[in-house]
């Protein structure tokens, strides 16, 4: 890789512009983004970005796309950390989702506001990839073999989990959790307030729709009484 020198050619301008955009988004959000400011920060003329990204929407789209790639990575890392337990894996995914948003609020908002983005197949693909990590986690929990075998209930479970972490993330970066800013450990606060909700949601979802292996007494369930293996209490620590 050519060293970014003080020569006429920057050498790694594309990366530098993306990085400058990230910082600018972090500082001022998507509202405060401007192509000229990014060029300024990269120490380059205002016309330079056009060379690599066409226009402002192109640069933002690239950043959003990379954002989804990064999100996919941390979700997968969280999933892996959950190990063999699909519940734990989903919880870790949820935590990572929220941490990602808190670490990169501007980028996170950008990724989910199509206004300033271009229609781009790569962006869509990376968005779907991130979503698929969650969907796979849900499938694992209910032992659904492939995406085609998902029922509306599974779909609703995905929506519910996604909504919860997405909403938590948005509220957190909007400053709606006053105690978050004041907390000694922000990550501690997140865990203490997000995990109980995820636990409860997973409890409820599993109770309403027990996976085959967890419901050896369908007759009792039909009468409305959870069996001894009912997840609500059994899994609570």
């Amino acid at each position: 890789m050519p060293a970014p020198s003080d020569s006429y050619h920057h050498g790694a301008l594309r990366e530098a512009l993306i990085e400058a955009t990230e910082t600018l988004l972090a500082e001022r959000g998507a509202e405060g983004f401007s192509l000229r400011e990014v060029a300024r920060r990269a120490g380059v003329s205002p016309a330079a970005p056009a060379h690599h990204f066409g226009d402002a929407a192109g640069l933002l789209t690239a950043v959003a796309s990379l954002g989804f790639e990064g999100l996919t990575q941390v979700l997968e890392a969280g999933d892996a950390r959950g190990g063999a337990d699909p519940r734990a894996a989903l919880q870790q995914q949820g935590l990572e989702y929220v941490r990602f948003a808190c670490r990169h609020p501007g980028r996170f908002r950008l990724m989910f506001r199509p206004g300033r983005l271009r229609d781009d197949p790569q962006l869509e693909r990376h968005g779907r990839d991130a979503f698929e990590v969650l969907a796979r986690g849900v499938r694992r929990l209910w032992q659904v073999p492939h995406a085609d075998a998902m029922t509306a209930r599974h779909g609703n479970a995905v929506i519910a989990l996604w909504s919860m972490v997405h909403g938590y993330a948005h509220l957190a970066i909007a400053g709606k959790f006053g105690a978050l800013e004041a907390a000694a450990s922000r990550d501690g606060f997140i865990q203490a307030t997000l995990v109980p909700g995820l636990e409860a949601l997973l409890d409820g979802l599993l109770a309403a729709n027990p996976p085959a292996s967890l419901s050896p007494q369908p007759a009792r369930r039909r009468r409305g009484l959870p069996g001894p293996g009912a997840p609500a209490a059994a899994r609570r620590r």
Copy 2:
């Protein structure tokens, strides 16, 4: 009230500006808002808004504040529709929250993005008012007499419910639920996909933390077996 005539004085410019802002937000979002465009739409000179709102942030703050008032109203209406059943009341609140966001996406996003808003006591008060409707609903479910008597668990329940509807709302207006746009009845889609999640969450929250009246057998619960009155199954229809 003076009739909005074609005379020199508009008569109801304040209201007209707010209305124009609402439409503009609906059309272009907070990104596309501009004071001049609002003035143009209200058929008034660009300097006129300053007279009523000081500056752009003042106008947006007023709109956001009214937005929270409106949100409070629909939440209360939903709560009332739930009648004596605190679960139903919370569900209806959740539905109203999401409907509000879908009806006024620009306004909704504005309300939760402090970037363009002014620090304003009235805005904060109206925001807290809306939040309090939800908190009251949760207190009713657990029969908590006043706000001071809420435990961390109650607080986490509020966070979980709020996160779920807030996240659902954001994802819906970001176009992330592809099937929403295509649905014959958008409200039908919302109900079919949001309510199961809310049900499951409430089930799980109640199972983890049963209200006094619903848990006559604490001994069994301590062994990890929900009693016959366990909410997860008992309340499912």
